[in-house]
Symmetry: C2
Subunit: 612 residues, 2 copies
């Protein structure tokens, strides 16, 4: 019953299809800012990432599940994490997207997304430490003073130091504005920080020499709410002007949480300044800009959570697929009453096939959603300075899709893991196989970095109307163009018809939301936004699966039936048709339900929920 075996799997052919065939990575390779990136470099980094995921991180996943320990105020990570951290930095996985001027490789975002998928899929808990470190470094890179960048950036990017985001407090979770951590200016220009932060992922660990906390705090006299918050760089150990460590900075780990999953990631309660000796550097020297600065990090972190969801779901799918091919049980349906009939692999059973295809479609669909957003980002970056209108248009799609990426990918992760357990049956519930851990790990994704409901409010109340609604119009227009072109497709036509109806239905919802806004019926938005995010995501995924299938079936004509690509392309057709039939067909009725906006949740009196 050893857990320390590698269970991670990825389908590299699928990654290459998504990057080069569906999302046309070739169009940006070799162009600024991706001058140094060609197809060979991309292939190489994918292969290296897969090797690292399967050989280094994968075997540590179940080890990490046993959890971290807090010893004398110091977090001890699970055995092997320290070596993996060192190797991840040495091999350059953590600086893929970092700009060249800061020592990174400046890779296209779609490539980085694929590598992140492999690292998170093989060990979601481990990957949070370097992921948050990179996020913290990016905030300093974007908003820090020259000195702050000099002092912190290199060490945070090469893994000498770690990093965290410190927003949440005991009474300020989703409601960040309630934050009571204070900052008081010292004579030397630093600030004395005092307060308690909770749920700090990687809040302490033993893999780096120092940990740099990005802490939201309120400078004395600042206004209440989020607008009065400032962002501070607060290292665990004090740092002198040359980057030397000069002793404790009065940041204490009060406790670590005992959780359902991601147990290899230490979730800390941190006390800043209990002894009045905690100093922080104001980011960029700018007061009251904390929320704006933190949101840069939050936006990337939200896409990062989407990638986590995809990653775990993808690993769950491929493990379930392998089990379904190996495990023999029952005879085929033609012989089901004959006890002498040969036993077949469970993949031959209808409901197992249905579950596998369901997982396949959802995983590929979520991957396409994420890479769609990432490719808009790449496209925007290559257009910048040459075609600024185009760059803005692309960024608009990134903004629109971000809440879908975070919320839908995370919800689907839990759903796919649940299905994976069901494919395994009883053994899936045991720790002999990895899927129960994937399921536990994935539950947090719908909560952190802004709950999924908050994502849906961001979508409906902000993103739909952004740029006067032009982002949403462009999104629906792209689908419309696809529909017109492919409505008569031989193999996919009926499914494209379902996409058309579903897209029309979400367009109708968008109009309804606008009507509510104009007539002051704001309270209908939070009542329906979660459900709307769900169906808009389904439409996006249904579209992208069909787009992939069109491309795949064209390409299939050019390969012989015994070429391995033939079957790969065939699979794309079934993912798209299945999803359209099973999921898109339900969207119009769901849209009607949204538009009707039943008020029962408002109308029920609090006392009527239960007599206890």
């Amino acid at each position: 019953m050893s857990q320390a075996q590698n269970r991670y799997k990825a389908d590299l052919r699928e990654f290459r299809f998504a990057l080069f065939e569906q999302f046309k990575l070739g169009d940006v390779l070799g162009k600024a800012p991706y001058e140094d990136w060609g197809k060979d470099e991309v292939e190489m980094v994918i292969d290296q990432g897969y090797k690292f995921a399967t050989e280094v991180l994968g075997p540590l996943n179940s080890v990490g599940d046993k959890g971290c320990r807090l010893e004398n105020g110091q977090v001890k990570t699970p055995p092997g994490f320290k070596e993996a951290w060192k190797a991840a930095y040495e091999q350059g996985f953590k600086t893929l997207t970092v700009e060249k001027e800061h020592g990174g490789q400046g890779a296209p975002r779609v490539v980085a997304a694929v590598v992140s998928e492999m690292l998170s899929g093989s060990n979601a808990a481990f990957e949070m430490y370097p992921g948050l470190t990179l996020g913290a470094a990016e905030v300093i890179a974007a908003f820090g003073t020259h000195d702050q960048k000099e002092l912190f950036l290199e060490k945070m990017l090469n893994g000498t130091w770690g990093g965290t985001m410190c927003l949440t407090e005991p009474h300020a979770g989703s409601d960040v504005g309630l934050s009571t951590t204070t900052a008081k200016k010292n004579a030397d220009g630093t600030y004395a920080i005092k307060g308690t932060k909770i749920f700090i992922s990687g809040g302490d660990h033993d893999m780096a020499d120092n940990i740099v906390h990005m802490v939201l705090a309120r400078i004395e006299g600042a206004q209440k709410g989020t607008k009065g918050l400032s962002l501070f760089i607060v290292p665990k150990h004090k740092v002198d002007a040359k980057g030397g460590l000069t002793g404790s900075n009065d940041v204490a780990v009060a406790s670590i949480e005992h959780k359902m999953g991601i147990n290899g990631s230490a979730t800390c309660v941190l006390n800043f300044g209990d002894e009045g000796k905690c100093d922080g550097f104001l980011v960029g020297g700018q007061e009251h800009q904390g929320i704006r600065q933190m949101f840069l990090l939050m936006n990337y972190a939200r896409i990062g959570v989407g990638v986590q969801g995809l990653a775990v779901a993808g690993a769950a799918y491929l493990n379930a697929l392998e089990y379904a091919r190996d495990r023999k049980q029952g005879s085929s349906i033609e012989n089901f009453k004959d006890p002498e009939a040969p036993r077949v692999s469970i993949i031959e059973h209808a409901d197992v096939r249905r579950m596998l295809l369901d997982m396949k479609a959802r995983v590929e669909g979520v991957r396409a959603l994420i890479l769609k957003a990432a490719s808009h980002l790449d496209s925007s970056l290559t257009k910048k300075g040459k075609d600024d209108d185009g760059a803005i248009e692309d960024m608009g799609q990134v903004e629109l899709l971000t809440p879908l990426v975070k919320a839908f990918a995370s919800d689907q992760a839990f759903r796919v893991c649940e299905t994976a357990i069901q494919v395994y049956g009883g053994v899936g519930y045991t720790k002999d196989y990895p899927v129960e851990q994937y399921c536990r790990d994935s539950k947090i994704f719908s909560i952190y970095e802004g709950t999924n409901h908050i994502q849906s409010l961001d979508l409906v109340a902000r993103k739909l109307g952004q740029r006067g609604g032009m982002n949403m119009q462009k999104f629906l227009g792209d689908i419309q163009t696809f529909v017109e072109k492919n409505r008569g497709h031989d193999a996919l036509g009926p499914a494209v018809g379902k996409l058309a109806s579903a897209a029309e239905a979400i367009g109708g919802c968008a109009m309804t939301f606008m009507g509510w806004a104009q007539s002051g019926q704001f309270d209908k938005v939070p009542l329906t936004s979660t459900r709307f995010l769900g169906i808009m995501s389904e439409v996006t995924i249904g579209w992208l699966l069909l787009d992939a299938a069109v491309i795949a079936l064209d390409a299939q004509k050019k390969v012989s039936k015994d070429h391995p690509d033939f079957m790969f392309y065939e699979g794309k057709k079934h993912s798209a048709n299945y999803f359209a039939h099973e999921v898109l067909s339900a969207v119009p009725a769901a849209a009607e339900t949204i538009r009707a906006a039943d008020r029962s949740p408002y109308e029920i009196p609090n006392a009527a929920f239960a007599t206890v």
Copy 2:
């Protein structure tokens, strides 16, 4: 961070409503076989059950989550389990449904279901030990010889001995017919048992003096498949004719599973007869009747799993409700931009209310489904010998509803627990609150006692056509009667209209299934049966919630607005309207999807699922 506090909650008013107001328990009280049961007795047993659940079992739930240990071949249960076992038997909770001739209280099944809900809800893992013991005893009571009953029954019913069901083997899970455990007749009429059984819940423990295993095995020379299986009573310790223990019966615990949840329940691998010294008693002295005999137990066990699902979901809902009332975060939607606005309990937020009402409706709906089945059973038992046709008709409904109870209640449990975690937010993911354990515990319910897909095949391929389709016709006819009576209801009319459409849609599916059967399109059944079970369950629940609401609103007219019942009744209206609006409205489109029976899961070639 102490876990050993009681977290269990139940709404006793809700139980009383379901029993006396909706399911008219009064109609069977005082009538044979329930002559000894009046309203006072029922009230008393509910109060006692709640006291036991909250004071004894609840505090042991998180203790039990730390798991059992295997020491020198003996399972050690978590601290406190032994005392709880003793108390449960002393207080008579385990013999509620046992017939009086066997020393039980012969309680109505609906009463037993409510008590089971409380015991399982407070500690699902613990409750499995006595639950399976009772199931094993019931098989002996139904099929055992006089001597077998004399020898085993009393001790198994009073908790001196435990009991298990041993079906599964490493290569025989859902496919029980593959079982390779053998039985060879000894000179004294007993049988030498040899084989390995896995996933045996309560396969060993330290709470009883002996454990009586009900083991499926194949007598030498018997045919292959399920029809060649016989059922044996195989005690852990050999038993002499007077019930004395005379030494080991060669049943060894090879290992216990490490699981996602229900860790307080020891899931064992058992080796029977490794040393050739394991003797079993053939149940009833009848060869090759094992599957038929075991199915008596399986049918009750399936309802039992449904109760487990309800129980955990109910506890998750009431805990989330309490948290939502206590936890302050954010301001009300009218003031959401004002940082000075007073903070409100999160129950005031639209999406939290939506989640709570969603849980409320699902929990109450599943409870009504289970009690509906149980009340048909009670009704059948009281009609027996007086109105045999009526008794048969009632039993038909029990048979029809059993797969819904098992599968839908278990799936909903996981869904409700997931929602409960979301209501809590980050703290719901920690072991500081009980919901993450509920979620982990509940995942097994969809797998054991016949996977939920097997339930759906039982529903579509057996139950829909039972008695020439009369059970299904009666079911749809009851809904039709309700619809006709209440279509014009003031507060519920539109929801009743949605029920009518949804019921029509599942009726249409039933016709389609019949058409497939007549035209030999059998392979469409396993492709669609899981989904059909889902919508048929939703229709059942939508109907029963509306039925409850009609009764509640009538009763509400008779109480003053400040009577606590007023709000309780008001809640019933909202559960029903919410469920009809949000869930029933999607049924017709889902039914169309079922009837269209997309064949993608069959058509996709195995090699097209992935290139790995």
